[in-house]
Assembly symmetry: D2
Homo-oligomer: 340 residues x 4
Amino acid sequence: MLSFESDYTEGAHEMIIRRLVETNLEQTPGYGLDHYCESAKAKIKEAFGVPGADVFFLIGGTQTNSTVIASLLREYQGVVAVGTGHIGVHESGAVEYTGHKVLTLPDHGGKMDAGELDAFLEAFYADGTFEHMVIPGMVYISFPTELGTIYTKAELETLHGVCQKYSMPLFIDGARLGYGLMSDSNDIDIREFASLCDVFYVGGTKVGALFGEAVVFTHGAPAHFFTTIKQHGALMAKGRMLGLQFDTLFTDGLYFRIARHADEMASILKGIFLEKGYETFIDSPTNQQFFVMTRERASELHGKVRFEDWCPVDEERIAVRFVTSWATTEDNVHALRDII
Amino acid sequence: MLSFESDYTEGAHEMIIRRLVETNLEQTPGYGLDHYCESAKAKIKEAFGVPGADVFFLIGGTQTNSTVIASLLREYQGVVAVGTGHIGVHESGAVEYTGHKVLTLPDHGGKMDAGELDAFLEAFYADGTFEHMVIPGMVYISFPTELGTIYTKAELETLHGVCQKYSMPLFIDGARLGYGLMSDSNDIDIREFASLCDVFYVGGTKVGALFGEAVVFTHGAPAHFFTTIKQHGALMAKGRMLGLQFDTLFTDGLYFRIARHADEMASILKGIFLEKGYETFIDSPTNQQFFVMTRERASELHGKVRFEDWCPVDEERIAVRFVTSWATTEDNVHALRDII
Amino acid sequence: MLSFESDYTEGAHEMIIRRLVETNLEQTPGYGLDHYCESAKAKIKEAFGVPGADVFFLIGGTQTNSTVIASLLREYQGVVAVGTGHIGVHESGAVEYTGHKVLTLPDHGGKMDAGELDAFLEAFYADGTFEHMVIPGMVYISFPTELGTIYTKAELETLHGVCQKYSMPLFIDGARLGYGLMSDSNDIDIREFASLCDVFYVGGTKVGALFGEAVVFTHGAPAHFFTTIKQHGALMAKGRMLGLQFDTLFTDGLYFRIARHADEMASILKGIFLEKGYETFIDSPTNQQFFVMTRERASELHGKVRFEDWCPVDEERIAVRFVTSWATTEDNVHALRDII
Amino acid sequence: MLSFESDYTEGAHEMIIRRLVETNLEQTPGYGLDHYCESAKAKIKEAFGVPGADVFFLIGGTQTNSTVIASLLREYQGVVAVGTGHIGVHESGAVEYTGHKVLTLPDHGGKMDAGELDAFLEAFYADGTFEHMVIPGMVYISFPTELGTIYTKAELETLHGVCQKYSMPLFIDGARLGYGLMSDSNDIDIREFASLCDVFYVGGTKVGALFGEAVVFTHGAPAHFFTTIKQHGALMAKGRMLGLQFDTLFTDGLYFRIARHADEMASILKGIFLEKGYETFIDSPTNQQFFVMTRERASELHGKVRFEDWCPVDEERIAVRFVTSWATTEDNVHALRDII
């Protein structure tokens, strides 16, 4: 059955598969010390214009979030995120498991408001009892957010400014980074993105790779981050699998091209839904699209196409999510027209 | 340069690569809920004769060790292991990071002695202050050990008996399980192995897969182990990558055939070293072979072939490790004859 | 200066001091194995009508909360509490430090609504992705709450029923238990209180002791709770200090008498505030009283009497807290009449 | 029955009791923000000659150890200690519970050898795989040790030098500090002690107080250490109890006088044992004395006087421990002559 359930239903982009086949019997050192990782790191630093950055490859998103967050916080600190932030909801408490509280602010279409962050921090330090509370130590946002929305350059600048005012690193979860950067609505240049935060990751799992997230510490990594990765069980023995995939994705702009394709497919898909009279649940400019429909209709559609029920809207209606990816074909999208 | 550095220098067995290619664009649900995982689990349960077991797929060894151990221990408990045990040395404190102490017993060629374990536990509970100490909650061993040695059936039965006497689960790290079970020196039948412990894992990373470890809880898994996996950052989004690999490895006995091959290559390799007058550091019947040589000789050899310096033996000599794998060819091994 | 800042500004009730003096040079075993602890435990079990309970003495509230919660949860579980719950706000993330998330429900005057808890749990388990979230493992409430309010017997019964429906222990933070049980508004008999939850503690620090909280596991303690206490740094070497204090407090009903006195003082204090035209911020029937006043008025009063600014109410007004205790005299309360 | 079981069998020195009585109804702010704590901190800084130090009061030893260690280590680091170190044995894994491994070196009469520490660190960093291990982040020793022995000034200087060479703070557990500093065998001046380490604590629980340990960070405390204390459940609400006790102990040298007395009592006690023909298990110059006797003799003596069986010596004999304290009278010690 046709599936728009997520952007991780297929394997990897064919170029990646081809190189896996070609290099399969090559012998390389383990743990990311191979030449593929070296090459991939160089290409990522080049693409984002951060020659002085430190790049590391981890395997999945939850793992990357909890490892990076733990490496940046001291034990008495927590991470500030919005209520819809992935770390606070769908990661089984992986951040708390490392000892840190997720301090929650309200979300606005999945985004954090810089003014609210500033007000929160000002009130926090104005409270005479703040030393009895968890000290906010960093800020976590996602780009695009869990609702497919993206920050404007101005929003990100302001948010980063508030973080700097309080000496808190800004960490951007880029599990779907490509889909955000290549969106028609995005006004941030790839080469300026890195300067708007302190650490981010380039999601591979959801953008063409079998797995893998490339963490970029724009001003250099915390001491012994390699050991932290190992301690978190996030170090891949055959590290070249990660290097090879990111090297391929960052050769000739493949990562961005396939992300752009998914965004285009999402745009067509949205058009079809609107044309059919559906309302959007939120206006997403990236590869995740959210619509409102009756429970009955959703239930009926589940028999014809795979997608995710997102959340209840009211007694009768729910929001649903349709996701495109690098692997979505135009035929697949158009097939929806006859189904929905 | 020829490398005997480890058993994770190549990619995966060609059958695995072939199936990755074939299935690449298939759409499957994420997180291990796909049919490949289902099929692989059934084949593993069949191979080990444990129809009632619960099987889970994780990505790497350190991750698997810390996740399984944390799931079996209560906060006041620790895990008993020998001093050479992987969890106590080369895992960056991943077990302690989850809050648990590794309680150390002496090793005997990498193995734990059942009598010493029994004596330790008897003395522990005889000590009036034991409640001020870490309560031993489980036992960790590896098969084969970090030194390539394996337990006899009698040894494992006795050890398991001691564990049962104190109601402690016995966990076997099988990162190299195939190489142990297929060793000429092994007297344990595959179908009786599972009955000699409470949980073990079938290492894929070092035995033909790109990555992956199959955890087998012989009497059923702890409650919510899926959530524990997620919390540890060990849940793979495209879980079928794990299912597909193990399904391939457990089709027509591939896992055991390629492990057997590695053991045979190791046997030839050992013969060549002995023939050339080297002494073994320890008599290993599996794919890791340890020899003693002068530091000078080792240094010279490093220019011609890759291998690992293991540890100092005395002022002048060190132990070195040569490892074969499923990917080692007879030609490679014979090439050593002219080098060493 | 007169202080109504908190209920822990003085030392201990004179009876406790007297017994500390009398017994000072007696030699007793450490760690709570002395006869004072034994006697105190028996008296507490008698007072609450729970002969089969297990009683332990810890030192302070935050410590008790994080130790008890950690002992009851498995690593993949979190504790449900309302947003104003002490564990989620003023304990510096002590619960998260042990690896567990605090799952937050809205508060109603500091209280949890049983219907909302039920709805939350029903929705949680109805969500197909719940295994990717933190599993709710227990419920934490306080009696009285951080806002001085108390649950009715019917409310507590319903809440406990919901907990039982989902097999979650109900834990009551009784840091100010005496002040709740002796309130005129309380309809729960002391001897039935224990049956309405699974574990609670009898606060000593805020009710007449120098320090100390008596934890009562009504159906018996988790295995090795003594070791858990030690591991949390919560085991007092001279444990008899705790036993002696609770033995004194539970001799001839002293604990309840002095709590009753504080509630009476609070009632007079509230009358004076109302008489002077102040509004209550919340209608508290226990020893913490909350009033609304302008920031200017509060600032002026701070020069004459000690109390705590609680939270902003609007641009101009704030809520303030005045607290009575076992040590508050009628003269002190009446002195307020001329000040406010 | 006469007891030499430990140095925490009685309450507190009479001067402390007297001041508790006198100040009992005084109202003070909580959490150590009172004038007694201020005064005590000043006196401790004066006594140890460290005007720039930061002093904090915690409640007990295990708590102090795990809180200080967690505050000084990053997540990927461990603490180096000898095998007999209290943190590795009798603290129920409190250090591991905060995520850190205790890295063990052999002890020499309870002491760490600076040369062995240096060799360990040199070998550690020479090992190409050190990033896969726990990074040594600090050193823990006790003064006196768990066996009553003390470091000479030269030993401590050398050890501190090795720590500085590797940028590792040296932490001294001074649960019995007074008994060490006042020993006849001690060659370290009180005012130079602090310069030989980076953080230490002045044990109160075992030296005259009801409870309490004064932590001295000689070069200033880690950021937000107050919050760390709270997070560890180690913050006392009525903090003045700690301030008052240490203020008393550090008025007119009371702390040192009573420690000196205990050492003198120990010296007499040792003389009596030697006179009676017993052998020492270890030659301790402080208040803990260890002798060797047959199991039979020990068993017989347990009927007449309280003391602790320490460890087996051989099939027939065990080591036993007799402890004096500030509260031991000369009569008590002489009474032993007729018993042993």
